[in-house]
Structure formats: structure tokens, C-alpha cells
């Protein structure tokens, strides 16, 4: 055997031994971090409800699940929610008393004195502070945190980790139902869904005379990104908001793509919908040749939390959009009063801030 071959063999042995050691360690300890999609929730009256988390674009990591199912025999009473949309929904459901911790972006409702506010860093969970709250569950969105930390939370500290990522109006309504089941407030979830559907039906009637050919085309400028502009496309719930408001999104790349400026110019949108964190100067610099910019066909979003947080408050953003583009058909005040319709009597009005 020549010298080079000897070295290769020796090195290969070292690699195999080291990789095997890791593999053996895994199989000995059976460490798992597999998403669970099925839940079985027992209500107070003894009824067992099955729920498939994929209907809310979500999944869960749950320690020691059986048959890939998370069994829950009692309503959750200590919830850490790291998504503003879920925090707002829990408030509307009258389950905010069960919330013990929120992220810094959960500003509706204003966090109470007994609620810990976590300043989340990119990719990092404040595990120690979360563990200190002894939560029944941590609810968050997909892809935000390191697997290593999630593993520690689920498999070492035994805290269930629920990911909710609704991508459509129907999934938002399913999210309401799920959170209602988890907190024992299912009837309130039904009322909120009814309020949403009632308003959507009314809007559909108000915009009924706008034909497909008369719909205005828009480009939603979320923010400048490396290599282009970050925006929304088909498959996102924001895109669905645009469609319901009878607006045509010029982007046909699914999800939340980054598109080049030439892509936007080539698609010739009639209007640019400008997110609140992008100013006119940035727009002028990014898309100087775009007709919509030259003609000042720019609509600035006043408060994008209504647009980008998937919960019941998107009804206000859809009406706001429709009012901006079809003012003779729709007015924001056409939305039926949440408190009057649902009798949930929220102390903090869910509509506040949509215009500012």
C-alpha cells in the first residue's frame, strides 16, 4: 500500500469512527425532534376533539407523544406566545389571563403587569426566562429559532412547542378554533369567525360591481432586500387580502419572494403599496423608472401589523385597502363593530391604529 493510500485509509477510519460515535450516541438516547401534526384535546365536558395542525399551517414538538399525537386533557392555563397574532387572538377569545409571557412585538393588547415581555434576538430563545414561567406551551412561528434550543426546551425541559403559521383566511379561522379549544373558549372562537365571515360577505357585496378587468394592479413593497425587493406573492395570506379587496398582485412568485426591480418595472403595476417601514426616498431610489412612482400612485400602509399578522384584525386591513382603492364602494366604518357583534366587549378596541 503506498503512502497516500495509507493516509486516506487512516483518515477514513477516523471519520467513520467519529461519525459512528455520534450515531451510536443518538440511537442510545433516541433523541427526537419530529413535528407532530395531530392533537387530541379533551374539553371540560369530556368531549374529545381531534385537530390536525396542518390546517393552520402548523405543527408541534411535543415530548413523549404517542402515535404521533399530542394528547391534552385540560385547557392550557400558562401560555407563552411569541407571535403577536396569537397574542391578539387569545385576548379576543378572553383567554389573555392564561398568557404568562409575550414577545416584544405583542403590543395588542398592552401587556399586563403579570405578563413577562421577552426581547427576542434573531434566532435565539430566552430559554432560562421561559422555563422560569413553567409554561404549558410556547407558541411561535416557523423557522425563527435554533433547533438546538428547541430541542432543549422540548426534550430536556419538557415544554411543548407549538408552531402556528396560517397562510389564508380559512387557516386564520382554524387558528381561532384551535386556540379556543386549547383555552376552553371554543364558543368565543365561533363568534369571532362569524364576525369575520359576516364582514367578508358584506365586502364581497360592496365590491361586487368591480369586474376582473377593472381591478387595479398593485405591487406591495415590503422592504428592500439584498438583490431586489422583498414582497408578497400567491400562497401568502397577504396576497389573499389583496385579492379579497379586488386588487391584482403583479407578483406571481409564491410566498414572500425577493424580486428584482426589472421584474417590477416589466409587470407595470398601476399602484405601489408601500409598507410603513419604507419611505418615499427609498422607493424613488429603488424604482425610479416605474410609472406608478412617476405618477405618484403610491399608497402608504399606515400600520402594517394589521396586514402582516394573521389574525381576525386583518378584516380591518382588507376594508382599509378597499377604501383606499375603491372609496366610492367601501368605507372602513362599514366594518361591523367587533364588540357590538360579538358581545366580547374587549376593553382595548381591536380597530384602533389601523389608520395611523
Amino acid at each position: 500500500m503506498n503512502q497516500k493510500l495509507k493516509i486516506i485509509v487512516a483518515v477514513a477510519i477516523v471519520v467513520v469512527v467519529a461519525a459512528s460515535a455520534f450515531g451510536v450516541n443518538y440511537y442510545l438516547h433516541k433523541g427526537k425532534l419530529e413535528p407532530v401534526y395531530n392533537m387530541k384535546i379533551m374539553e371540560a365536558n369530556g368531549t374529545v376533539d381531534a385537530f390536525n395542525l396542518s390546517t393552520v399551517g402548523g405543527y408541534a414538538y411535543f415530548p413523549a407523544q404517542q402515535n404521533n399525537t399530542w394528547y391534552l386533557s385540560h385547557p392550557l392555563s400558562r401560555i407563552v406566545t411569541l407571535i403577536p397574532s396569537v397574542t391578539a387572538t387569545l385576548y379576543a377569545l378572553h383567554a389573555y389571563n392564561d398568557v404568562v409571557g409575550v414577545d416584544q412585538y405583542s403590543i395588542y393588547p398592552t401587556p399586563g403587569k403579570n405578563v413577562t415581555v421577552f426581547d427576542l434576538n434573531v434566532g435565539s430563545l430566552p430559554i432560562e426566562s421561559i422555563a422560569n414561567l413553567t409554561p404549558d406551551v410556547v407558541i411561535t412561528t416557523a423557522g425563527g429559532f435554533s433547533n438546538q434550543q428547541i430541542n432543549q426546551m422540548v426534550n430536556v425541559l419538557h415544554i411543548p412547542y407549538l408552531v402556528l403559521d396560517p397562510g389564508s383566511i380559512s387557516q386564520i379561522e382554524n387558528q381561532n378554533n384551535l386556540l379556543g379549544l386549547l383555552t376552553g373558549t371554543s364558543s368565543n372562537a365561533g363568534i369571532i369567525n362569524s364576525w369575520m365571515n359576516s364582514n367578508l360577505q358584506n365586502l364581497s357585496k360592496d365590491l361586487g360591481n368591480i369586474s376582473a378587468g377593472a381591478e387595479k394592479s398593485v405591487f406591495y413593497y415590503l422592504y428592500p432586500a439584498s438583490g431586489g425587493i422583498y414582497t408578497v406573492g400567491p400562497g401568502s395570506f397577504v396576497n389573499q387580502e389583496l385579492n379579497i379587496a379586488h386588487l391584482k398582485n403583479i407578483v406571481n412568485i409564491s410566498g414572500y419572494p425577493t424580486v428584482s426591480t426589472s421584474y417590477v418595472i416589466n409587470a407595470t403595476p398601476e399602484y405601489v403599496l408601500l409598507d410603513q417601514y419604507v419611505n418615499q426616498t427609498t422607493l424613488n431610489q429603488s424604482l425610479p423608472g416605474l410609472n406608478a412612482v412617476k405618477e405618484h400612485h403610491v399608497v402608504a400602509v399606515a400600520n402594517d401589523t394589521f396586514f402582516t399578522e394573521p389574525n381576525f384584525r386583518i378584516i380591518y386591513s382588507i376594508y382599509w385597502l378597499a377604501q383606499q382603492f375603491y372609496p366610492s364602494n367601501v368605507n372602513l366604518s362599514d366594518v361591523s363593530s367587533f364588540n357590538s357583534y360579538t358581545h366580547l366587549n374587549l376593553a382595548q378596541n381591536p380597530e384602533t391604529g389601523v389608520n395611523s
Binding site: I7, F22, S226
Partner: protein
């Protein structure tokens, strides 16, 4: 008379070395204990002491209580593995730096330069982008480890020139391959926005989320690699004097280089797989070791390991406490401390008061 003087000087030197070593070891022990007392959750000293006593073998069962189950979990399952992880990762990086600087005879090299960091990042990004669970909860770490080894081996074999691996080729190939892999990682990240958060956390380095399970094996690999490198001190000393000198005193240069690099790669890759990329420890700490203990690897290798452990542990303490209720990535802290120290060291070199 002269012999007696030399012997006395030698004894004094050995005694001074042991004194310094004992002081360092004691400082490390104190740092470990101190580090478990600090964190984002305030736990009374009496409770932490009781938890420590509870963990003692045989007599732990008789230890007084005075702590809650949550406090026990935070100390034993969150803080202790992070603290020991910091020591192990710091030691591995410092050992790697000492070894690589000797092999390359270059004071500005660190273990990452031969492709460990880019290889590990590639593995982590592949695991995250494919969402693989081939190795269960530790898929990211294990793939990072394996690709790191594979990339270093690739660099080594690409540097082969007529039966030899000239250090300059190894260095340049390492840089080139690292840049090439960085481009691949960039491409993967650009096509998947959601990965950017998790990968960002990986690139900044973090000790949060380390579990006892993964720490056991990583510690074994780090301690083993440290032990083997310690036995190579004579050969590494000879390499520091130049390859012709090493050959002239009977050192098998190629075999020593290969062995040192393999052992370094195994130790550092194992450490990086659980911590992400933590910079400057591998570059700066070996120099600190040489400043305190002279140029010989006999002392520098073990002392650098202790210094690396202390440095990363204290950096992690800063990361955990600098901002209330937040944990900064430790890589930021090591960079902030490491760069000024490196500049100071350069000024010492330029004044001739320190020769690496």
C-alpha cells in the same frame, strides 16, 4: 557549582510553572461556580448551593431542600451544561489554535483557516434547508461535524504536492475552499429566507441550548484530542523551528502534520458542532498562553486549553448578563474582546517584547 545553579534555576522555573498552573486551574474552578450563579433568572444563592449539594454523589439525598423544581431545572439542565460547554468549546478552540499555529509556523492562523468553519456551516445549512432528521434532534450538529471533517480532508488532499503538503499550499487551499463553500452557503440562504435567522445565530455562535446528552460525547472528543496533542508537543516544537530543522532531529514531518491536523479537526469540529462559529478564541488564546508560559508546547498546549475555557466562560457570562432578559450571541463578545487584545498583542510584537 554551575550544575547546581542550573538545577536550581530549573527547579525554580518548574515551581513557577506549577504555581501559575494551579492559580489558573483554581480560577477556572471559581469561574465555573460563579457562572452557574448568574443568569437572566434570579435564583437565591442559598437555593443554588442546595442544588449543588443535592447533586453530590451518595450524600446528595440528605441535602437540604430550599429550592423549587423549576430552579433545579434551570441550574442543572440549562446553566450547568452551558457552563461546561463553554469550557469545552473554549478549550477545543484554543488547543486547535495552538496546534495550527505550530504546524503553519504562522501566528495569525487559527483552526478555522483550514476549512473547519465553512465545512461546519455547510453541514448546518444543509441540515436546516433539507429539514432532515437523519440523526434525530442532533441532525444539525452531527452533519456539521461530518461535513467539517470532510472539508478539511478535502483541503488536505488538494494540497498534496509530490508526497508532501507544503504549509503555504494548505493555507491557500483552505482559504480558497472556504470562500467557495461560503458562496454555496450564500446561495442556499438566498433561496430560503426562513433559514437566515437560524443560520445567522449559527454564524454568530451561541452556547445556549447545549444539553448534557450532546456535551458528553463532545467533551470526550475534546479531552481526547487535547491529550493526543499534548503528547505531540516535542514534534510541534520542532515544526515551529521549521520543517528542515524538524527533519534534522528525526521528526516525521508529514505524519506529524497530518496527525496534528486530524486531531485538531476532530476536536474543533466537535466543539463547533454544538456552539456554531465563535471567533478569536483560537487566534488569541494560544498567544496569551505563550506570553504567560513561554514558547514550548509542553506548557502552552494544556495551559491554552485552560485559558480558552476561562475566556469563553467569562465571555458567555457577559453575553448572558450584559442586556437584561436577553442573551447575546457569545461570538459577538469574543470578537469585541478579542480584537482589542489582538491589537495590543501586535503592538507588543512590533516592540519586540513578545515573540510568538
Amino acid at each position: 557549582m554551575v550544575d547546581a545553579e542550573i538545577t536550581e534555576k530549573g527547579h525554580r522555573r518548574i515551581s513557577l510553572f506549577f504555581t501559575k498552573a494551579v492559580i489558573l486551574a483554581a480560577f477556572l474552578a471559581i469561574s465555573i461556580i460563579y457562572s452557574t450563579f448568574i443568569g437572566s433568572v434570579n435564583i437565591p444563592v442559598s437555593s443554588i448551593t442546595a442544588i449543588y449539594l443535592r447533586q453530590l454523589p451518595f450524600i446528595g439525598g440528605y441535602a437540604a431542600s430550599g429550592y423549587t423544581a423549576t430552579q433545579y431545572e434551570i441550574i442543572v439542565l440549562v446553566r450547568e451544561p452551558e457552563v461546561i460547554g463553554a469550557v469545552m468549546v473554549g478549550a477545543a478552540l484554543a488547543l486547535g489554535g495552538t496546534s495550527v499555529q505550530s504546524v503553519f509556523r504562522n501566528p495569525i492562523t487559527e483552526p478555522y483557516i483550514i476549512g473547519i468553519s465553512s465545512g461546519a456551516t455547510l453541514g448546518a445549512v444543509i441540515a436546516l434547508s433539507t429539514n432532515t432528521s437523519i440523526f434525530g434532534a442532533y441532525s444539525v450538529q452531527i452533519l456539521a461535524f461530518i461535513t467539517s471533517l470532510a472539508v478539511v480532508l478535502g483541503v488536505y488532499f488538494l494540497s498534496f504536492r509530490t508526497g508532501r503538503v507544503p504549509p503555504i499550499y494548505l493555507l491557500l487551499t483552505g482559504i480558497a475552499i472556504s470562500l467557495f463553500i461560503s458562496a454555496i452557503v450564500g446561495l442556499i440562504l438566498f433561496s430560503n429566507l426562513r433559514l437566515q435567522n437560524e443560520t445567522f445565530a449559527w454564524l454568530l455562535g451561541s452556547l445556549s441550548g447545549i444539553t448534557w446528552q450532546e456535551l458528553g460525547l463532545v467533551s470526550l472528543l475534546v479531552i481526547l484530542s487535547g491529550f493526543i496533542l499534548s503528547t505531540l508537543w516535542r514534534e510541534l516544537d520542532a515544526l515551529q523551528m521549521g520543517e528542515p530543522h524538524a527533519r534534522s532531529i528525526g521528526v516525521n514531518v508529514e505524519r506529524t502534520k497530518l496527525l496534528a491536523l486530524i486531531i485538531t479537526t476532530v476536536g474543533v469540529s466537535a466543539a463547533v458542532s454544538i456552539s456554531g462559529l465563535i471567533g478569536f478564541v483560537g487566534l488569541v488564546i494560544p498567544h496569551l498562553g505563550r506570553m504567560l508560559f513561554g514558547g514550548s508546547n509542553r506548557k502552552v498546549i494544556p495551559m491554552s486549553a485552560i485559558l480558552g475555557g476561562i475566556f469563553l466562560l467569562l465571555s458567555d457570562d457577559l453575553a448572558r448578563t450584559m442586556v437584561h432578559n436577553e442573551v447575546l450571541p457569545v461570538g459577538i463578545i469574543t470578537g469585541l474582546i478579542g480584537v482589542p487584545f489582538f491589537m495590543y498583542m501586535l503592538s507588543r510584537i512590533s516592540r519586540g517584547s513578545y515573540v510568538s
